[in-house]
Symmetry: C4
Subunit: 229 residues, 4 copies
């Protein structure tokens, strides 16, 4: 069932490790099948070097296991909430990678300080509000998804393919799980560069809207002219 | 004698090197056998690439060598003190890994700034008081253990599996030496993220107790729901 | 056509990846042929592990493709502007490498704080003025080149083989593309050291002109005595 | 001639590269033969991957080449000055490694903030005064040695096996060139930890003399009890 997607999700999880974004079992990646609307996600707490494509868990959008003998990632309700709210996305990744997580812990959005950032995000990478004690105590993972959804309200999620959860860590998404992992790699680099730029010049300002838009739309939308298409 | 434990201790010491936590002979790891209450520990100052499982030294809880032709790690009295005070622990690791040691040198506890931290520690990673000149001059290594024991007074040591020794470096422990090394890897990452988060937002606050407890108890205790158990 | 230069450009692009200066398709390198004045440049957005020497694109100095079926790097007009203005240079590299880009994002020149720097640059690594909205909106890449050219006005470009584009990233050049990549590696290291030196001593001063000149001219010009020549 | 020492110097130079302390041709290492008092040193500006043991240059203490067809490292007069002033040392290494060089560029000694440091240095790693323009303009490299010698005045050089040259970079020495390289690796780590400790706690104090001496003399002198001797 969903063999191709299962393999893509498996490979995406391994790529997080290879890129140095995940140690032990800190992260997870999932995809949703476009027709059946089934989620394929990493099992919870299984060491990456023992994981096989067949260990991926398949669930419905309510988080009920449809196939697989292992328990799904404990962050599944966050993934499910995002898939329900954002029908245009096909994959999600979540890491506790060092630099992006430092910004999440600092409860600060990552400002758009350079064209590297603007090539991927037309503005800051936003950070959620803190969850209330009630939201934490019941349905915590689903409420984490809800906080991200509130943050993105009124925006195209593919136009802002990542968010920081305050005090926690980043989530990334995209048309596919492969794209989500690609964004995870990029954001880790953006987070490192923004941190260093801020310590070099504490009064550094975000990029002008002209330069930000130039770079963003050089790669996105109908007037894009980067790459081979 | 204690072949299995000897191999586990040997492997744990090598894992510290593979994970980049130890250069040259800076660190050490040990285990205690549950029945005989014998300590298996790395020999002192032997290069890791020449070390063999048979080089591990076996001592009693008073630090007397029971088996082995090499001298045990000079930190043995610290390990022994912890095994005597904390009967629930089965292994100890000690490193001078960069980020955690920087916090120890700064004489600052590592605050719980994020869920990555709260997945392992339900609060700060504490730092000891400075030893007095008397404590340094006689029985220094045992007194280092005593300072850690005072710091943990009234707490379950498995609920706080690491401490920073002020001006020195971190110690880690757990049910097994493998667990202690796992914690060493995690704490190094937590130390790096906390350092960066503090420089991004100098007034960053510790995680709310609600979020901290949520993450800690998601992985620990009777209501845990992370992983495959 | 231009097989040797094509291979050198291909290898230079791969060297940027091997040296950790480029992830995904963030950078580019090119060379100009001394006689035909043709530019050999990386294609736009092609993954490095799929790229072959034959994928390099050959254009004239106006940026018109002379040979090659792929689109050239979108930064080609910047390269072309530099080749036109600086006839003495034979190669250009562009990266978004972490440390140098952090300085560009901070809109700060990299001061000459040590002899490592003075071995390569007889002064700061300068940073451009911000482009105006007009310059961004039309002929952006050519105007980026123009900003670098203005910055170097009246100087020998081989005496200052790099510049930071404000809010963007560094460009490097040299007698050959191999030299330009060498400079990219050096500047990344200089940027990291200057950042750390500034945080250790916020009032750190640039090197005295005596020490700066000593090191620069130990390696450059008629009185050089470094190396085997 | 001096085949064993030649090979040891060659290996020491390669070890600087393997340990990540040297890129391109930034560093050098040498040894002095105890009887003939001849210096074996790396040639100037030869890429490490093309260097062979036979390329090492042999000179007398006045820097005159005795054997070898290549030019010796341009820093030879610094090495020679140290060998003349410090008869107890047998080897020297010089790097521009990132963290130690940042301290040298900041013109700040590396304070003894922890036991890792005190295991090797019984106090700060000192930094030289700036050279005068006259000292820079004539006999620069020999005067660099003289500045280090002044800094160590009245001390056993083996008790302080490294110094930072202000605005330049660190020099390391020891009984052998292998020891000098070992110290280079350690100091790079100490420099990184001290930098981070200072940013975590800007008012961090050096280790108490009691703890500093305890660790230093645990490894050095007649009462040492670290290791297998």
């Amino acid at each position: 069932m969903l063999q191709t997607l299962r393999t893509e999700v498996y490979e995406a999880n391994l790529e997080l490790v290879r890129r140095g974004l995940v140690i032990y079992t800190f992260g997870n990646a999932s995809a949703v099948s476009p027709e059946e609307r089934l989620i394929v996600i990493k099992p919870s707490g299984v060491p990456y070097d023992q994981m096989r494509p067949g260990d991926m868990v398949i669930t419905d959008l309510d988080g009920r296991v449809v196939e697989g003998s292992l328990r799904p990632s404990s962050d599944l309700p966050t993934h499910a909430a995002l898939y329900c709210a954002f029908p245009s996305i096909g994959g999600i990744a979540h890491t506790h990678s060092r630099h992006a997580t430092a910004w999440a812990q600092a409860c600060r959005e990552i400002p758009c300080l350079g064209t590297t950032h603007a090539d991927y995000f037309c503005g800051s990478i936003p950070v959620t509000e803190a969850l209330s004690p009630n939201e934490i105590e019941s349905d915590y993972e689903a409420n984490t998804g809800a906080a991200i959804i509130r943050l993105l309200q009124g925006r195209d999620p593919l136009g802002c393919p990542a968010a920081l959860v305050a005090g926690h860590a980043p989530f990334f998404w995209g048309k596919s799980v492969t794209d989500a992992v690609h964004t995870a790699v990029i954001v880790e680099e953006l987070a490192a560069m923004a941190w260093q730029a801020m310590t070099i010049n504490p009064s550094v300002q975000p990029l002008s809207s002209a330069l930000r838009d130039k770079h963003y739309f050089r790669k996105h939308g109908p007037k894009a002219y980067y790459g081979q298409k």
